[in-house]
């Protein structure tokens, strides 16, 4: 085959495929009576499999309660395992979109899996919703129009009201932080440190420990010798479990007060802990011990269905399902018109979520919440849960900063924590 012939045949191939590409697309667009297919990505194997399972539980619970039908169309949820691995997540997202023809994707737990899928949908415009992925820049500096954080939160959003509370109400002035050494940790600590520093507090030392640290005693000794007013702890999963236990065993509990990120005292962690977790103060949009009727109803139903208190994963995916349904109803089930559907999702004001308070998105696709300052207490039946102390209204991902100015500063990293050099 000479070169010209080759070029011709490749050209023919491309043209044929382009034509074929238009054909099925039109068919789908007119097939509005078929089911709405939702691709749910969750880590069912790998390091965060426990959380992934709760994601699926929460998401399905909503449809089991309210029926698998919206605006006259059936809802088909197709679950795929992302194996806690970004390459697998990407592969499964491809399969859901290209083979199963889903209308939208939702889910993923680890930031790197979410970022991988976000990069993929950036190219093809498939709506992708991320109730769990907290990576700041997905709704800030590197936002993608079809990636929306319904019912989720950005990492640096929640620690800010906590820093404010620690400075003003608890009177702390000198803090240290300890955190897992990866982006989610940098962003949460960054949020805490910047707000705490801007108010006039000082962060005297920051510790970054590798994921899956078995023995925290070297860090605990250093925290003790730094003599801070308070320690801010950003740990997730098994690290959170170990840290809370070792903190108590080391004798620091009750001596140096502990503030935590929302993941530290999430049900997925404290479910298996005893009184060593009691009294840890954290901040989050969700608080399973809240007395708001909507929250109580959700918690009771969830406990009945799965015989455990809902974690952030279950709650966020449940609210995410609710948000999707609200969007679908607004466009009368016509999810094929992506632009219209995404606009509707952005405009949703979720009044009946388990939070019992209206939730809406800011202009950048991240929800604005009334954030609870919460503490861990023992329930009469012996289980531990988070109960609210105070509510900070209308907390956006930009706190009190101007969004455009804020986004000009660098993303949080190990070396940049928003602390002004004096």
């Amino acid at each position: 085959m000479d070169r010209r012939k080759f070029v011709q045949s490749v050209g023919a191939v491309v043209a044929a495929n382009a034509a074929a590409g238009i054909g099925p697309w039109q068919r789908v667009a007119s097939a509005q009576s078929g089911p709405i297919r939702i691709g749910l990505l969750a880590p069912l194997t790998g390091v965060v499999a426990a959380g992934g399972k709760e994601m699926v539980e929460g998401f399905n619970l909503y449809f089991d309660q309210h029926g698998h039908k919206v605006a006259g169309r059936d809802i088909e949820v197709i679950v795929e395992d992302d194996a806690s691995n970004p390459d697998t997540a990407l592969q499964k997202a491809r399969r859901l979109v290209e083979q199963r023809n889903v209308h939208m994707l939702i889910g993923d737990l680890l930031a790197n899996t979410g970022l991988a899928v976000a990069e993929y949908v950036k190219g093809n415009g498939v709506p992708y919703f991320i109730p769990i992925i907290a990576a700041d820049d997905l709704t800030q500096r590197k936002r993608i129009p079809n990636v929306i954080r319904i019912a989720g939160y950005s990492a640096s959003q929640m620690p800010r009201p906590l820093a404010d509370y620690a400075y003003h109400k608890l009177g702390y002035r000198k803090a240290v932080t300890i955190s897992q050494d990866y982006t989610f940790g940098y962003e949460q600590c960054g949020g805490f440190c910047q707000t705490f520093g801007d108010l006039g507090g000082t962060v005297v030392q920051q510790f970054w420990q590798p994921l899956n640290t078995a023995d925290f005693s070297p860090y605990l000794a250093q925290i003790q010798s730094a003599k801070p007013d308070v320690v801010y702890v950003m740990e997730t999963g098994a690290d959170a479990n170990r840290f809370i236990q070792q903190y108590a065993n080391f004798g620091l509990k009750g001596k140096i007060p502990m503030l935590g990120c929302m993941n530290l005292t999430d049900q997925s962690v404290i479910r298996t802990l005893g009184q060593e977790c009691e009294g840890i103060i954290s901040s989050a949009q969700f608080c399973e011990g809240s007395t708001a009727p909507a929250t109580e109803k959700f918690v009771t139903e969830y406990e009945k269905a799965f015989s455990k208190l809902p974690s952030l994963y279950g709650f966020s995916m449940y609210s995410g399902a609710m948000w999707l349904v609200a969007g679908m109803n607004a466009v009368k089930g016509n999810v094929e018109d992506r632009k219209q559907f995404l606009d509707a999702i952005r405009k949703v004001v979720l009044n009946d979520s388990p939070l019992g308070r209206p939730v809406r998105l800011d202009d950048y696709g991240n929800p604005i919440y009334d954030v609870y300052i919460r503490t861990v207490k023992r329930r009469p039946d012996g289980k531990f849960w988070n109960v609210p102390i105070e509510t900070v209204p209308n907390v956006s991902q930009f706190w009190k900063y101007d969004p455009e100015t804020y986004m000009k500063q660098a993303s949080y990293s190990r070396s940049f924590q928003g602390i002004k050099k004096s």
Binding site: P86, D87, A118
Partner: protein, 336 residues
């Protein structure tokens, strides 16, 4: 290969050749099979467009990685657990060059291959003096160092979150074009590896695998041969890594992790160690199974594990080796 001493050549070939001589009927069957296989590969983007084509693309890329591992494992008898890292270094370099440096993907590809080959040189210098389980552990450790660097050197590698960005230029974005790009590159690479394995140099490697001391006694520079073999193998692994960057538009520490090396090695073992094309068979089987099985159960890693055990018990020479044995038996029956 300029390093091949003049003593090898015809004599070396003859020594092994009788085992490879085939009956005309058997070689005809092989040619027919090869033609059918090639036709199937060409037809892929037209028959199963979309997701399945992307799976074939992935298979071709990982087959190249598996074959590069087989060059060492099957021919030189050195099983490496560091090739995932070499592969991933190339992927990282391409993505870094294209996204952070905003450079050309082709330059990125070149840099990626160079970086991977250099990494292979370093690995080789440290590892060639060992063999057996020590070689395995040393390459494993070197791979873990690369993984650790990718995880912790956040300012360059993006840490846990990795690097993202479209690498392939716009004219490559229609899937059939991209498919044929990958098919052509991997075919050429496969041919080169096949030539390499069958060259006098490749035969010398087999000699080293069989008996290092005898080859040394015959006057061969064994460490030099192993060094070159490792470097060449790393070159091919790196090339596969650059293609992966084009395909995936994303890289994270998972790509350089031990699991990647192990998966490459499993592909070789399932396909058949020392068969070269077994890498392709193994890659196809594993990627297909991962996708089919995970569709039915979240316990798919267990099913894969069982499959490996079954393969090891009933076809220890790998699927391709097993297929060849079946064909050979049939051919000999026909003759008698």
């Amino acid at each position: 290969m300029s390093a091949a001493p003049p003593t090898e050549g015809e004599a070396g070939w003859e020594a092994v050749a009788p085992a490879r001589r085939r009956t005309p009927a058997a070689s005809r069957t092989r040619i027919v099979l090869a033609v059918i296989f090639a036709a199937l590969l060409v037809a892929v983007p037209f028959v199963v467009p979309g997701y399945k084509t992307s799976l074939v693309i992935e298979t071709l890329i990982f087959a190249t990685l598996a074959m590069s591992i087989d060059l060492l494992a099957g021919y030189a008898g050195r099983v490496s657990l560091g090739h995932g890292a070499i592969f991933g270094i190339a992927t990282y370099v391409v993505l870094y060059h294209v996204t952070t440096n905003a450079g050309s993907p082709w330059v990125g590809m070149l840099l990626g291959v160079v970086a991977a080959t250099l990494a292979a040189v370093v690995f080789a210098l440290l590892a060639i003096r060992t063999s057996g389980v020590y070689f395995l552990l040393l390459t494993l450790a070197l791979g873990m160092i690369v993984w650790g660097m990718c995880l912790r050197w956040t300012s360059v590698t993006g840490g846990e979150n990795g690097l993202r960005g479209t690498v392939a230029p716009a004219w490559l974005s229609p899937q059939p074009v991209f498919y044929f790009f990958i098919l052509i590159v991997t075919s050429v690479m496969t041919w080169l590896m096949w030539r390499f394995a069958r060259s006098p140099f490749g035969l010398t490697l087999q000699g080293i695998r069989e008996s290092e001391s005898r080859m040394r006694a015959l006057g061969y520079n064994v460490p030099l041969h192993l060094f070159i073999a490792f470097t060449v193998s790393g070159f091919f692994a790196g090339l596969a890594g650059t293609l992966y960057a084009f395909f995936n538009s994303f890289v994270s520490p998972a790509t350089v992790a031990l699991a990647q090396s192990v998966e490459g090695l499993l592909m070789v073992i399932v396909g058949g160690v020392g068969t070269l094309f077994g890498g392709l068979v193994g890659a196809a089987v594993i990627i297909a199974l991962e996708n089919v099985v995970s569709f039915y159960t979240e316990r798919w890693p267990m099913v894969l594990g069982l499959m490996f055990i079954v393969t090891m018990i009933f076809a220890p020479e790998g699927l391709l080796g097993w297929g060849r044995a079946v064909l050979a038996r049939r051919a000999s029956r026909k003759e008698s």
